[in-house]
Amino acid sequence: MAARRASGFLLLLALVFLRAVTFVSPAPSARAQRSVAVFLQATATDDTASKVADVIAEQLGVEAGKVTREATLTELGADSLDIVESVMALEEAFDVELPDEETTSLKNCGDVMDLIQSKL
């Protein structure tokens, strides 16, 4: 009984952190909580990550080195139209489809990299 309550509470905490990380890069402990919540998702290889960074960097006019896993597209200067164009550019670069329902839950560039990796 106590264990069920504890896990329910942990899940609630994870959800709270997931909401919070929409807007700021998570602190290490929050990152750990997030990776627990999304542990079933693929993690991008360095190669994929690097290629994604190049595409996003070109779209947003930033250096590729700034496109880290923790950075959000918004922080890098993207508005809603830039995000759509970035998704289109990534689809073309990787020859994958990124339907809207899958891109809505992406929080940062790391999520983008992992989503693409999962389609390769």
């Binding site: 700021v24 950075a71 922080e75 200067g77 809603s80 759509v84 809207d100 329902e101």
Partner: protein
């Protein structure tokens, strides 16, 4: 001062009565107030003044922007949002708290015992805007007219058929503006209903002449309950406003540049 594109002419509204005094709230479920702020109109000290209106969380987020111009417009957007709320509800700018709804839409935590205040922010290169009303869903979207965008492809991917045709057959000089006219209206609606990117953009279409919306599935929503306005806050920007209202004829919309004197006084309070 206010540059409308289509829609109706502004009527006498509650903005013209000046900021709220004596604890009386100046909001109406039949009234919409909207402010915009052009970055180029900020003078010495204005940015710091707007920063002084923000809470720590917003200042932290502002600091994370890669480009200074994005940091500034974020500050402007959140500054005029708090300013607009204080203008109508009379509390200090830092009092306002927001909660994040299911699809990421921020909603004001309205003061207890009063009406449910709805507010929405938008910002783009060089311009921030905010819109406020009571009770009803409201959304605002701004865009920058000189951006590089693959508009034919974007319209193909996202727009309803009639909109896509309108964009694709437009001449080169007008194409981006027509695309952005549709885009800002669609974004304003999507932001008003608060479903974020999960709302397919091709499920509804706009007629730019009457600023009317049609839902391809007629049971999805009621076009008669939606009112739209378009503005050109400056030569380089376009803006659209969407508000859900059960009796549109009663609706009064007032939109204009954010009053800097009021904001400066608020920051010093």
């Amino acid at each position: 001062m206010r540059k409308t594109l289509g829609g109706r002419q502004p009527s006498e509204g509650f903005l013209s009565h000046g900021a709220v005094r004596d604890g009386n709230a100046l909001v109406s479920k039949d009234g919409v107030a909207a402010w915009w702020l052009l970055l180029e109109h900020l003078t010495e000290g204005d940015l710091e003044m707007l920063e002084a209106l923000l809470v720590d969380e917003e200042l932290a987020r502002a600091g994370r922007f890669h480009f200074e111009r994005d940091r500034q417009i974020y500050i402007a957007a959140h500054g005029i949002c708090r300013g607009l709320l204080s203008y109508h509800l009379g509390q200090p700018a830092k009092n306002w708290r927001f909660s994040i709804e299911d699809h990421g839409k921020p909603e004001l935590i309205s003061p207890a015992g009063g009406p449910r205040i709805r507010v929405n922010i938008s910002h783009t290169r060089g311009l921030a805007a905010v819109a406020l009303t009571s009770e009803h869903d409201i959304g605002v979207d701004v865009e920058w007219r000189h951006r590089d965008a693959m508009v034919d492809e974007l319209a193909q991917r996202m727009f309803a058929e009639s909109e896509r045709r309108d964009v694709q057959r437009a001449c080169k000089e007008k194409k981006l503006d027509i695309f952005l006219a549709y885009w800002t209206l669609k974004e304003a609606y999507v932001k008003a209903i608060g479903k974020g990117l999960s709302q397919p953009l091709d499920a509804f279409e706009f007629d730019l002449n009457g600023l009317n919306i049609t839902f391809l599935d007629r049971s999805a929503d009621d076009p008669d309950h939606w009112h739209f306005e378009r503005y050109q806050p400056g030569p380089d920007h376009l803006m659209a406003l969407a508000v859900r209202h059960p009796a549109k004829a009663n609706l009064r919309v007032e939109a204009g540049p954010a009053p800097m004197e009021f904001l400066r006084n608020l920051a010093q309070a």
